[in-house]
């Protein structure tokens, strides 16, 4: 029986799932509800100046990249399995599409974060 390459994708899926489980809910609340609505947090929580400061700090870059990349890998891996579960025949091509999408998103995020620079 051929050795599966699942461990690679499963590790990324697991890391993303754990991150999402630990802080995902609060992240959604802060970025999608509290800050935009000015509810429990000031309306300028995610101001351009503040977000640039976050994205220019190396820790901020790591955090933003981790969230975007791992959430994408988690989501794409699971959605790929969802397709299989509802009876769609998922071959190597579709597998590459889903995981490739997550990889592409990761690369785009990394590029943007590097391009934003380190401030100063």
């Amino acid at each position: 029986m051929k050795r599966s390459n699942k461990p690679v994708f499963w590790s990324l899926f697991g890391a993303g799932g754990m991150l999402a489980a630990l802080i995902g809910t609060m992240l959604v609340f802060v970025t999608g509800i509290a800050a935009p609505a000015g509810f429990l947090l000031p309306g300028d929580t995610m101001s351009y100046a503040r977000m640039m400061a976050l994205a220019q700090h190396w820790l901020g870059k790591l955090g933003i990249l981790a969230v975007i990349s791992l959430f994408l890998f988690h989501g794409c891996h699971r959605m790929y399995h969802c397709l299989h579960d509802v009876g769609v025949h998922v071959g190597a091509g579709i597998k590459a599409l889903f995981h490739g999408f997550a990889a592409a998103g990761t690369l785009v995020a990394a590029y943007l974060l590097l391009s934003i620079g380190f401030g100063g």
Binding site: G16, G17, M18, A20, A21, L22, I23, G24, T25, M26, L27, V28, F29, V30, T31, G32, I33, A35, P36, A37, L40, L41, P42, D44, T45, M46, S47, Y48, R50, M51, M52, A55, I64, V67, I68, F71, L72, H74, G75, C76, H77, R78, M79, H81, C82, D85, V86, G87, G105, V108, A109, L112, L113, S115, I116
Partner: protein
């Protein structure tokens, strides 16, 4: 005498036939909203890269009632993900023993949930403190 003709029942609609399967499918499909949220953040990062005007436009879009309502849905999906994630976590771990006794599964679930609550409060507290 040849092998008798067996009958294999089709799998179509399997997940609709049992509430246990339906919960499983909801759990799995929460991944769609997790992906969408990641893409929203990625798009926001792109807008940030483009400059103040573009980023402010993105923020304005987030502040619309439609977006807030959508994020409530996303919030529900993330919460369900977290709940089911910790519920299933013990199954992926070997038996843990403390003082010779096996740590029960619900203790592992509770620790996971507690860690999530603690980190979430920490995150909110950090944001609140930075923006006070």
């Amino acid at each position: 005498m040849g092998k008798p003709k067996t009958y294999l029942r089709p799998m179509t609609g399997w997940w609709r036939r049992n509430p246990f399967y339906r919960s499983y499918m909801i759990r799995e499909f929460s991944s769609v909203l997790v992906t969408v949220y990641a893409l929203i953040l990625l798009f926001g990062l792109y807008r940030l890269f483009q400059g103040q005007a573009a980023f402010d436009a993105w923020r304005a879009a987030l502040a619309t009632p439609g977006s807030i309502l959508f994020h409530l849905l996303v919030l529900a999906a993330f919460f369900y993900h977290a709940w089911t994630w910790f519920e299933i976590m013990p199954k992926t771990m070997p038996f843990i023993r403390l003082g010779g006794r096996r740590v029960p599964d619900n203790a592992i679930v509770a620790s996971g949930a507690a860690a999530a609550v603690a980190l979430s409060i920490l995150l909110f507290g950090l944001v609140w403190w930075v923006t006070r």
